[in-house]
């Protein structure tokens, strides 16, 4: 029997989902009307389903997001790789998420360039402090593995 965990992934641009696929042959991709579905087979008994959306669905509808987010271990936000502050679209996406959900969320962005930028809290809108940041290069060959491992590490100690 297979065990599956489901992870919603949001991005400000659908091109940002590409690094998730990388060159990993164990990840298959299926496109649905309003989301991209990635199936990551870790081994014969363990799988991860990624539901990739470039918007936060309207709350209140019986949406896919409403069903999946509360039961997911965490969610990811993929944002533009520049080292500056977050775009307005990203900020709005974060606050829409924080307003509606309490599932831990991790913002994935490229490693910052300067020491000052290594203080992510400064870059964040004060309302958005519920989000944690994971730094990684989009060109990292182990992008998906890296962000999953980091997110799991961050979630486990708080809840075990």
């Amino acid at each position: 029997m297979k065990t599956v965990i489901e992870v919603p992934v949001f991005a400000t641009d659908s091109n940002l989902f590409k690094p998730l696929l990388g060159e990993n042959k164990n990840i298959t991709e299926t496109k649905y009307h309003d989301f991209l579905f990635l199936e990551f087979e870790l081994d014969k008994a363990h799988e991860i389903y990624f539901y990739c959306m470039d918007y936060i669905p309207e709350k209140g509808n019986i949406s896919l997001a409403d069903k999946i987010i509360p039961k997911a271990p965490f969610v990811f936000f993929l944002v533009e790789p520049d080292a500056g502050s977050f775009s307005e679209t990203a900020d709005n996406m974060f606050s829409e998420y924080i307003d509606n959900y309490t599932t831990p969320a991790f913002v994935i962005r490229s490693a910052p360039l300067s020491e000052k930028e290594k203080q992510p809290e400064e870059n964040l809108n004060p309302d958005l402090k519920g989000l944690e940041i994971i730094f990684t290069e989009q060109e990292n060959n182990n992008f998906t593995k890296h962000i999953l491992t980091e997110a799991i590490k961050k979630v486990i100690p708080k809840n075990l």
Partner: protein, 376 residues
């Protein structure tokens, strides 16, 4: 119609091309990666080949393979920022153009358009085509009238496509979305960014427009003037407007709801015009009144209102219940349907946050171990 093969591992890039360049008289086909493209090249010869690859090494490999087929079909390369520095080799290999992605939509359109359209000009296409920037719908009707011919004019602008049908030089029918013929002509008379293609035929097209060409042109002129008048009366079109989080969308009509939702996370009026939604003009006419009603706010006010709503949500259950009862009472006294609810002390019915329910943390540990032990 020119045929372009898009060789890419990813279908997204094809979608991007066909969406962004839909107004060009070009047909894009996604032929998959080089392996499947190779099979297609044996049976079909496109007018252009576009290679879109994330990794530069793979792109070089594909270009080398493509060159070995000796097809002599011009090709363009699209690469990511990562491979951009080393693009000289691609030019040396004969690429008509090497384009870095992502790129600004306008710039991207211009580059690809220059390559494709200049090439199509060289062809002996029997159809007559040109830019709507040079000849708009009014000019086209006049031109057709002078020739007294039968035929159709296809208009393509952004993602929109319409058709004008002529019989003996008279405009007899127009097709755009599900609009009635006159509405369709009026809508298309505003198109300036795009292309037209004229095809003469011997078909007796349905006579659905009763107005003669003169009257129709007059209608178009009035419509264009009215459109310009509305646009010039608008507030600063560059300012980003946010739809107030206090709007009660349930009480609005479908068109207003769609148009207001467009501004949900902040958009400028220019972006809204560019989007050209149904009922856009009527909505713009009323924009001042929407602003007066408080439907649109600036960024700071938007954030302040969001914060206030959040505070409302955090009120205790009992207080919230009282809030609900009183807000309903208050609402029935002060708000007509379609009006925007004022946030002030309304205690609106904002539902709770969805609670984090995941509890299989031992399973996560198992996943972490598997990931750690994987190669690479």
């Amino acid at each position: 119609m020119k045929e372009v093969f898009i060789v890419s591992e990813n279908e997204d890039i094809f979608t991007m091309f066909s969406k962004t360049l839909s107004y060009l008289p070009v047909h894009f086909s996604w032929v998959g990666d080089m392996d499947s493209a190779e099979k297609q090249f044996r049976t079909e010869k496109p007018d252009f080949v576009f290679f879109a690859v994330y990794k530069l090494t793979l792109l070089h490999n594909w270009v080398a393979r493509y060159k070995s087929f000796k097809l002599r079909i011009p090709f363009l390369c699209f690469i990511s920022k990562i491979g951009w520095e080393k693009r000289e080799l691609l030019w040396m290999a004969g690429a008509a153009e090497v384009i870095e992605l992502p790129k600004l939509k306008k710039e991207f359109k211009q580059i690809v358009e220059t390559v494709l359209v200049s090439s199509s000009d060289e062809g002996n296409d029997a159809k007559l085509s040109g830019s709507l920037n040079v000849l708009n719908v009014i000019n086209l009707i006049q031109t057709f009238e002078d020739g007294k011919k039968n035929g159709v004019i296809e208009l393509i602008s952004k993602n929109r496509r319409g058709q004008l049908q002529f019989y003996k030089g008279k405009l007899v029918n127009a097709i755009y979305n599900n609009s009635d013929p006159i509405e369709a002509v009026l809508a298309m008379s505003l198109w300036r960014d795009g292309l037209y293609t004229v095809t003469y035929d011997k078909i007796r097209h349905n006579h659905r427009i009763k107005l003669d060409n003169r009257q129709m042109i007059k209608e178009c002129q009035d419509h264009i003037l009215n459109h310009e008048k509305i646009l010039s009366a608008l507030p600063d079109k560059e300012i980003v407007l946010y739809a107030s989080p206090t709007i009660d969308y349930e009480e609005l009509g479908a068109k207003d709801r769609t148009n207001l939702l467009y501004f949900k996370f902040g958009k400028s009026i220019n972006e809204f015009i560019e989007n050209d939604s149904e009922g856009m003009l009527d909505f713009l006419k009323e924009i001042d009144s929407w602003i007066d009603k408080g439907a649109f706010v600036g960024k700071e006010e938007f954030q302040a209102q969001q914060l206030k709503i959040k505070e409302e949500k955090n009120k205790s259950g009992v207080k919230k219940l009282f809030g609900k009862i009183f807000s309903k009472k208050e609402e029935s006294q002060t708000h007509a349907p379609g009006m925007i609810k004022k946030n002030k002390d309304s205690g609106e019915d904002y539902s709770e946050k969805k609670v984090y329910m995941f509890d299989r943390f031992n399973l996560l540990v198992e996943y972490a171990e598997i990931l750690e032990n994987q190669d690479g």
